[in-house]
Amino acid sequence: MTAAQPLPDPTTAAEEPAAATPEAPQREALYFALRNPKLIVGLSIVLLFLLVGLVVPPLLEHGPNERYAPPLLPPSGEHWFGTTQFGQDLFTQFAYGIRATFLVGLLGGGIAAVIGMTIGFVAGYKGGWVDEVLNMLTNVVLVLPTLAVLFIIAAYVDSYSVTTQSFFIGMTSWPWAARAVRSQALSLSSRDFVDLARLSGVRTWKIIVRDIAPNMSSYLFMTFILLFGGAVLAAAGLDFVGLGPSDGMSLGLIMHQAVKWGALQLGVWWWFVPPGLGITAIVGAMYIMNVGLDEVFNPKLREM
């Protein structure tokens, strides 16, 4: 090579520094992420709901359970989502409910994801007796009748907040995720590039985080979405049978009350449709995000 460096090609200039630094793949992924319509749309919807849950409740003058308006008003300028049979404002309930839903989803789904993925990765990568012990643990938790356990716990714990609920849900809902992650990690860790990383002196946890996990990042995100959705639905189920948090409001709780007070029979659609749509929209938007992320992380899909 001569000392003169060739001029950088303008079309590849954006990628040029990528080859030099180890952080580059992330930067490049970001570049493609910001140009992926599915990811943008999904993320916008999720963020919109999150924003409602975070920003709106402090601005409202009435609490979610306050009875101050005429009952069963259909949606109007005054009451955007109408009112309940007891004169509670449904938009207020919705905004507070979104908050609880995100908390349960993020915390419950997050706890389950951390436990499930850690166990799955370690079991799949290490194999041998480590795998067998972790498998046994997973199976034990898997055969626990989760909802029944949640019922019992919920019935015995006095002060019961959304956080506590999320914690219990997270601790019991990870086994399938551990299994799914394990089988993926197992098949990936027999690939030569993992051996090559070992030959390059890379530590085990770094190989798991930097070589194996990126190969299944969309899979991991999908797992998290399902855990998120599962936690939201499990919470709704608990709320539905009256074992929800003693203080607070959630989308599940709104639906529970709607059904309990005959909203279906009365045709009061505004009582149960918005919370149902809310849950569906949040989980659905995350699914769209997942498809977008798949394209971002998989360089082969980018070119199609």
Binding site: M1, P6, T12, E15, E16, A18, A19, A20, P22, P25, R191, D192, F193, D195, L196, A197, R198, L199, S200, G201, V202, R203, T204, D211, P214, N215, S217, F297, N298, P299, K300
Partner: protein, 310 residues
Amino acid sequence: MLKFDRVTKVYKVGAFGGGSFTAVREASFEVRPGEVVSLIGESGSGKSTLGKMALRIASVSSGTITCDGTDVSTLRGHRRLKEYYRKVQGVFQDPFSSYNPVFKADRVFAMIRSEYHPGVSDAEWRDKVADALKVVRLDPDQVLGKYPHQLSGGQLQRMLLARALLLDIDYLVADEVISMLDASTRIDVLNLLADLKARGMGILFVTHDLALGNYISDQTVILHRGEIVERGVTSKVFADPRHPYTKKLFASVPQFHKKWDEVEAELRAREAADTSSQPYHLAEGQAVPSELVEVTEGHYVQPFHPRAAV
């Protein structure tokens, strides 16, 4: 010296780890510094398994592999293994699965840099990589910054070789490193290996190509179904093969003017005519020992039943 001493590898197979399969049985040979040892054998004979055991990627079931006196199976802990890989490196057989598909191919260089040369400046490293690529006849502009699926098998293979050259290694396990190269690049890489050898590197050259083995190596090891049937100085093994499997292997190199049927018949006839008795001939019913017998100085053969079919 990379020394294999009665190395055996048993894989667990089947559900619940019930079954087992012996891929390598009691293999003993050495790779000395400044020497190329070609490991020849048909597909599934256990060549890659031997290489992987030397690289500590697969465990040794019994026997020992020592590198300059250190038993490699005692290398526990990240630090000691890392030091080992500073001295011993490998190029795997399948270039496509040697690269992480979600990252650019040159990440294999970046990993070496971050683990072994963290202090090197960007410019210095770029030159180092460019040099290593030039040695394997690759144009840096053509291969850097690309994803593995955008490169050819031969390019990927040579990049792996370049990667190993970024470390100042003593031993190289090269598993079918030139299987995907065209004739002219092949000769370049062979010359590179000869050059490395001249600089004192010990190379375990895995191949199923006899001509290549003969061309490049000082020592030859013939592997058949996990057992070494013959080994020794390359010139002696090729000029005077003793084991029926080796003979058959050498005879099976396609010849322009002969069909395999003729070659095989000839081989049979010659064997039947040979009624001499050799120290490595086994009597009827005698079990095949794992120890090899020295034929001439530096040429060993596994004892066999003289008139049994291979």
